[in-house]
Symmetry: C2
Subunit: 82 residues, 2 copies
């Protein structure tokens, strides 16, 4: 299992409701890929969304995001944290 920070660009103007809906859509299917999305943070001004997750691989994380219609632009395995 790894921990991942993925980044979505181009989300300018994202609302709290849209962020919640996207996150809930991920949560609804994440178990099928062995992934868990822990948190998401959004900056509507620059259109950037960060998602922190755990899962078996970056591909598994991306599959959840793809299936819910919002593929990530970057996925980084964050092997260190403090």
């Amino acid at each position: 299992m790894g921990t991942y920070m993925d980044v979505h660009h181009g989300m300018k103007g994202i609302t709290s409701q849209q962020l919640n809906q996207a996150h809930q859509a991920d949560l609804a299917i994440e178990k099928e890929e062995g992934v868990h999305f822990e948190h998401a943070w959004a900056d509507p001004e620059s259109g950037t969304v960060y998602c922190l997750s755990t899962g078996p691989s970056p591909e598994a994380v991306q599959r959840v995001h793809e299936r819910t219609g919002h593929a990530a632009d970057e996925i980084h395995e964050v092997t260190l944290s403090v």
Copy 2:
């Protein structure tokens, strides 16, 4: 008070000890700027570090990072979270 995600690039090969030392250096002076660094995550392979903080402004967050010798490359106010 805002919540911020800042990003550092060019940190390839960062070790757990280096991340801890950098975070401790920030914690040691953060109160002087009214900032609190909650978490940091690092991907040594791509050299990317993400820091989550709260504080009065992005400038205050950057001042802490500058004073400890590791200015952020990007600081995003994340007004939404889930």
